[in-house]
């Protein structure tokens, strides 16, 4: 098992090399002037654009730029992000906790609610619960996140006088958190508030999480629900379920012990993908609720051709997906003893 895990983790290296080469090949399609655009945001700076290009080596052959970048990465320097106005690595550790916090609160809800609704819908197939769940799934999946986010904001922040505000913290909480009297253990506001013994900041952070988490949950649990329902229906038709019922097992035991566990495999796959997606940032939700996380940063970096930040995103997502796939495979083995790793 350990060897298997190590072998899978070592896959990170060729994956990262592969994706970074692909990105640099795409970059070669952009002219030096386009790549200098991230440094030249105003027409007044145009007269010095050749200086900018020369200074940043943007007119060097693409393979030279690649090897220059790789040699810096191996020294731990991922470059300077113009959109974040910080080194890329520093920016990553700055923005990641916001994304992580959103993901940590959303992912369990999405997965658990999706599993529960999907399982319940399957067990009560063609009854009201099933129909209601499917309508919820269709509506939820169809809703654009920006629209849902804005509607929730208009109702629960606008109409209800700031009940659930945007951003990460209120003004008072933010001033305390960013002062010297507060220790940032993790960068995650809810966790750090508890670790600092400041319950009111914890509550404030939770209030600010309600709407973005609700937005993500409503939209994404629909996918989990649909997959769970389909998988559960398939399992409920299997011979061993009929056998279990015939042997006198009560329905609760049949569903929980025999059906649900076996229906989980496809759900694990989609949950893994979902979690990775949440961890790499949900740009629209972050923008609507003004929570500056990885998604927000990387979206701006992509639009402005902030190449070091884009490459940083590529590296992170490469690592993330390798690790996520590994965890998914390990969970397969847990849920299905027939699966052999390695």
């Amino acid at each position: 098992m350990l060897n298997y895990i190590i072998r899978r983790l070592l896959l990170i290296i060729p994956v990262l090399i592969g994706v970074s080469v692909i990105i640099f090949l795409i970059l070669s399609l952009f002219s030096p002037e386009q790549r200098a655009a991230v440094f030249v945001t105003d027409i007044k700076q145009l007269r010095d654009i050749q200086g900018v290009i020369a200074k940043h080596g943007l007119d060097a052959p693409i393979y030279v730029q690649y090897f220059r970048w790789i040699s810096e990465v191996l020294k731990g320097n991922l470059g300077w992000s113009k959109t974040a106005e910080r080194p890329v690595l520093e920016a990553f550790f700055y923005f990641f906790p916001t994304t992580l916090e959103l993901g940590l609160f959303s992912a369990p809800l999405i997965i658990l609610i999706g599993i529960y609704l999907g399982g319940t819908a399957a067990v009560h197939q063609d009854k009201f619960v099933d129909h209601a769940s499917r309508v919820f799934a269709i509506v939820g999946w169809s809703l654009p996140s920006f629209w849902l986010g804005l509607v929730l904001l208009m109702v629960f922040y606008g109409y209800f006088s700031g009940l659930f505000p945007p951003e990460s913290l209120g003004v008072k909480a933010s001033l305390v958190v960013k002062s010297g009297d507060f220790t940032r253990f993790t960068g995650i506001n809810t966790i750090d508030a508890l670790l600092n013994g400041k319950l009111w900041i914890f509550v404030d952070a939770l209030r600010h999480l309600v709407l973005p988490v609700a937005t993500l949950t409503i939209i994404d649990c629909a996918m989990v629900m649909r997959i769970m329902r389909s998988s559960m229906l398939e399992v409920l038709g299997k011979g061993y379920i009929i056998t279990a019922r015939a042997k006198g097992a009560d329905e609760k035991t049949v569903i929980k012990k025999h059906a649900r566990k076996n229906a989980m495999i496809p759900v694990i796959t989609v949950s893994g993908y979902l979690f990775a997606m949440l961890m790499s940032g949900v740009v629209i939700t972050e923008t609507i609720f003004n929570r500056k996380g990885l998604g927000w940063w990387w979206a701006r970096a992509a639009i402005q051709l902030d190449i070091p930040a884009v490459l940083g995103a590529v590296l992170f997502n490469g690592i993330l997906f390798v690790i996520t796939n590994l965890i998914v495979d390990l969970l397969y083995a847990y849920f299905d003893p027939r699966v052999r790793l390695g």
């Binding site: 700076q45 010095d48 200074k55 300077w80």
Partner: protein
């Protein structure tokens, strides 16, 4: 029954909670400004964007500043007097400016301001002189050059030149100009004239002030300039923290030499989504916000807010003709010939073509529909609010018949006979430029079915590439004043080396000579004559069609007091100068 009543009561409580927006003052000692502009740097020698300028303007101070809402009257700040020829602090030949420095002024770190700090501030800026930065505005008057390096990045000046340009003489700091430069005071009043603490800078690794080391500090990498994320000024607010892309927080400086400000703290938050920003404003979680022009109707008639309208910006947007389009790989000129399927690279070099376009723009409709009447029709390259603008200057107007007349004459009649086809690009997201381009498209195509114009959006990076490579056919772009002087407009719009005119290959030697003479002329009457003549030539040559000078709005909650407008303040229409502002 009881359950029903209980449910109704709960619903009533919940519904009545929805007040729509907050009436009470939130955070009474903290002003929150919700904006979209991201800060590039907090270093006054580096920063050239308005978002950075807005913060720097309130953290640092300059030798002189603008009097209230004026752009041509000054008050002494860190100097005790505003230099003038009358008080002898400007030499009669305009080459020497003397500033007596105020005593007893504290920096945020407790150090006392000295003339050496002032000297250092300017020398430091000229030493740093980063690519695309604002320091050319010090180099031009003081050394008579654009900057410290040539186009290849080689340093072409000696430190001695910088050293001699700014000197301490007793309690005074003296500037020695290369040639007379009438807007010198207005340049010093802007953020690139901010005074920094030499001790603070050197302590944090900045240039120590010596001749031997200056080249090492020239043109640093982005993010490596010493004052990128730290600050120590003499202004009414000191930097508490800057989280790039997120927010900037400044706190009241209690030892400010003019007495502490009323506000305890100011927070600039970057909130890019308009609806979120609006909701924060209505909920009282933002006191001042930036409202993009397309959304101003959403706040009309809303209680609890105060709006100042029709604030004149010092901006000017125009449509520039490219006299010599680069045809290499340029799909936007079609066939590259005057055959009805394209345009030749010198298409716009014919004055009748340019006049045809000039008479095709419907200003009345454009200014009313796009800006709801909150924009001015410019008369030439000098906007309203800048000296020597000629309000009586003849200008172009929408006249399809005249447009037709000129197109018929253009290129000996070939334009009308063969027709043409080309593309106008605009940068994605810029609605004003898009609509202006489409107006040209619609009105010009209506004159002759053989006239075909395509309008296409591109990302800013692509637009930049096309502009720099002179491939744009007709480009619509705007200019925001660096300082309030006509030179800052006529140069980019008309000089052959101007920021815009260089990319359109427009060259009129008489114009160049007039502009170079105008900046060195001290006598106001003679100066006025030069700029009037330039405006006349602009009308005659029509190198570009001036489209609009936008009027701005300021939005604040009604518990905010003390704000006033000055068009030259960075983001003046948003928060401007914070010192007099308070909440009540």
């Amino acid at each position: 029954m009881k359950k029903v009543v209980l449910a109704l009561v709960i619903m009533g409580i919940i519904l009545s909670w929805g007040a729509g927006f907050a009436a009470e003052v939130k955070n009474p000692d903290t002003l929150i400004v919700a904006d979209i502009g991201t800060v590039d740097s907090l270093d006054p020698a580096w920063a050239y964007d308005t978002a950075s300028g807005a913060r720097i303007f309130n953290i640092y101070e300059t030798l002189v500043s603008f009097k209230d809402g004026k752009t041509d009257e000054f008050i002494p700040v860190l100097a005790t007097k505003v230099p003038s020829v009358e008080n002898g602090l400007i030499s009669p030949d305009g080459l020497t400016y003397t500033f007596p420095i105020r005593k007893g002024v504290k920096f945020h770190n407790g150090e006392i301001l000295t003339p050496e700090d002032v000297e250092y501030s300017f020398e430091r800026a000229m030493v740093q002189d980063r690519d695309g930065g604002p320091v050319w505005m010090l180099y031009e008057p003081l050394l008579g050059v654009h900057g410290s390096r040539d186009s290849e990045g080689n340093i072409v000046i000696d430190f001695e030149q910088i050293d001699k340009a700014v000197e301490v003489e007793g309690d005074n700091v003296v500037f020695h100009l290369k040639h007379p430069y009438p807007p010198f005071l207005t340049i010093l009043a802007n953020t690139w004239g901010s005074i920094v603490s030499k001790k603070f800078c050197v302590k944090h690794g900045d240039w120590p002030g010596t001749a031997e080391t200056w080249k090492k500090y020239n043109n640093p990498e982005p993010g490596k300039e010493t004052l990128h994320a730290i600050a120590c000024g003499t202004g009414p607010f000191k930097l508490e923290r800057w989280e790039p892309g997120v927010e900037t927080v400044v706190a009241r400086f209690d030892d400010y030499w003019q007495g502490p400000a009323k506000l305890k703290r100011v927070i600039w938050k970057i909130v890019e989504e308009w609806t979120t920003r609006k909701l924060m404003f209505l909920a009282g979680d933002a006191d001042i916000i930036y409202v993009p022009q397309p959304y101003i109707q959403e706040l009309e008639g809303v209680e609890g807010i105060r709006v100042a309208k029709k604030l004149p910006s010092l901006t000017l947007s125009a449509a520039f003709f490219n006299f010599n389009i680069n045809p290499e790989g340029n799909a936007d000129i079609g066939s590259g010939k005057l055959d009805g399927e394209g345009i030749p690279p010198d298409f716009f070099s014919d004055k009748d073509v340019r006049l045809g376009f000039a008479y095709s723009f419907d200003w009345e409709t454009y200014l009313q529909d796009v800006f709801m009447g909150e924009a001015l029709k410019p008369v030439g390259p000098i906007p309203e609010g800048i000296a020597y603008r000629n309000p009586e200057q003849e200008t172009y107007y929408f006249d399809p018949e005249k447009a037709k007349e000129h197109f018929k004459k253009a290129w000996g009649g070939k334009v009308w006979e063969k027709g043409f086809k080309f593309t106008i690009l605009y940068n994605t997201g810029n609605t004003m430029r898009e609509i202006a381009a489409r107006m040209f498209e619609e009105n010009v195509e209506a004159l002759n079915p053989k006239f075909k114009i395509e309008v296409r959006p591109v990302e800013w990076s692509t637009y930049l590439k096309e502009l720099v490579n002179r491939r744009l056919t007709l480009f619509i772009i705007g200019w925001l004043a660096d300082y309030a002087d006509p030179h800052n407009f006529v140069h980019p719009f008309m000089h052959s080396q101007g920021d815009f005119s260089a990319f359109q290959s427009y060259h009129n030697p008489i114009v160049d000579e007039l502009i170079e003479r105008g900046i060195k002329t001290i006598d106001p009457e003679k100066r006025g004559q030069i700029y009037y003549q330039l405006q006349l030539i602009y009308y005659d040559d029509v190198p570009s069609v001036p489209l609009y000078q936008q009027l701005l709005r300021h939005y604040e909650r009604d518990w905010v007091h003390g704000w006033y407008f000055n068009p030259i303040y960075p983001n003046g229409e948003i928060q401007g100068y914070l010192y007099p502002i308070y909440k009540k």
